[in-house]
Symmetry: C2
Subunit: 211 residues, 2 copies
């Protein structure tokens, strides 16, 4: 499939506790885009406020494992006893229709996607500094001290992986970060490797591939 | 010089009559940037409304040629009997101070800059279609039929060179085009190859160059 025919896959990722979910939600509230969010699948039980097929697809562990066996995930990971994954068929469907698909996933998952779909756009949401991230993790009232500790350890392992991404966006202030992500998406559309087909067609230019 | 230490050089270019000057001016009217315009040098006589050192540095042909000999231009070109060029020293000075420098130049000049400073960001301003550009050239009341014809011939030669740029921005509506250019500049700052040094320093990460 050529770059000009299929949609753009945008991977928003970053260390545990950096606030990538908040940035992703703020991005969807901005004007001037037509993005689709790819809903993840999980074995974690739904929280009271969570809606099936909107926040997650909630499935049993046996169902999730069956799908792993069937290679039905674009990426998946296990964390604190639960599985999380991106259903491959839905992403492929949307991309084939020329839609822009946003994934918001863990670093481990993002590196899996990188191998499978290197043409996707990989954005690392970074904390303004380590302390800000630790404070954020502490503030999450819903979690036990043990879970917080495991998230800190995970974040420490993820910090040095930023260089594997295409872009680094510092989450200093959520709306700023969302604005920067949107700027990146707009710039990616203007990239010559993507925009040249439409331009050449419009101008009646027949370019040799090796020119 | 490392990418993180010097400023960003942004080259706005495109075929004759596409309106790159208008897009560049609209860009400078937008909020949220700290760009500096690199004023060109020319042997063309100033128009009544033009200001020395703001619109152009106006010099004599012998002075311009002396500077060509001294390799004092980042790029230069001759068109319709006049010379136009970008003084190299001023660009280098600003970049060394970490400033963002915008050039608005002809396609021929942009390709010269590409060879000399490949790390610059090259943006091709494209017309929405050929007719729009021809109409634009006709409307320029100040020019003779002969000059218009030469501009059309020049534009035709420049159309197929878009693929040599990093980005293609269609000038469908000036403010839209300026917005897209600003998005590109913001995205370029977030590119990992530029942002990683600051991020690693902030997070205390020592990365091997070949990692």
């Amino acid at each position: 499939m050529k770059l000009n025919e299929s949609g753009l896959l945008i991977v928003i990722s970053g260390p545990s506790g950096v606030g990538k979910g908040t940035v992703r939600k703020a991005l969807f509230e901005l004007e001037g885009h037509d993005l689709e969010y790819s809903v993840s699948m999980t074995t974690r039980p739904p929280r009271s406020y969570e809606v099936e097929a909107e926040d997650y697809y909630f499935v049993s562990e046996s169902e999730f494992k069956r799908r792993i066996e069937a290679d039905a995930f674009l990426e998946w990971a296990e964390f604190v006893g639960h599985y999380y994954g991106t259903p491959l068929d839905k992403v492929q469907e949307k991309l084939a229709m020329g839609k822009e698909v946003v994934l918001e996933i863990e670093v481990e998952g993002a590196l899996q996607v990188r191998k499978r779909m290197p043409e996707a756009v990989f954005i690392f949401i970074a904390p303004p500094n380590k302390d800000a991230l630790y404070r954020r993790l502490q503030r999450r009232g819903t979690e036990t001290a043990d879970t917080i500790e495991r998230r800190v350890v995970k974040a420490e392992r993820e910090f040095p992986l930023a260089h594997k991404y295409d872009y680094i966006v510092v989450n200093d202030e959520v709306m700023n970060a969302a604005d920067r992500v949107l700027a990146i998406i707009r710039a990616e559309h203007a990239k010559t490797e993507r925009a040249i087909y439409k331009y050449n067609a419009l101008m009646g230019i027949h370019q040799d591939e090796d020119e």
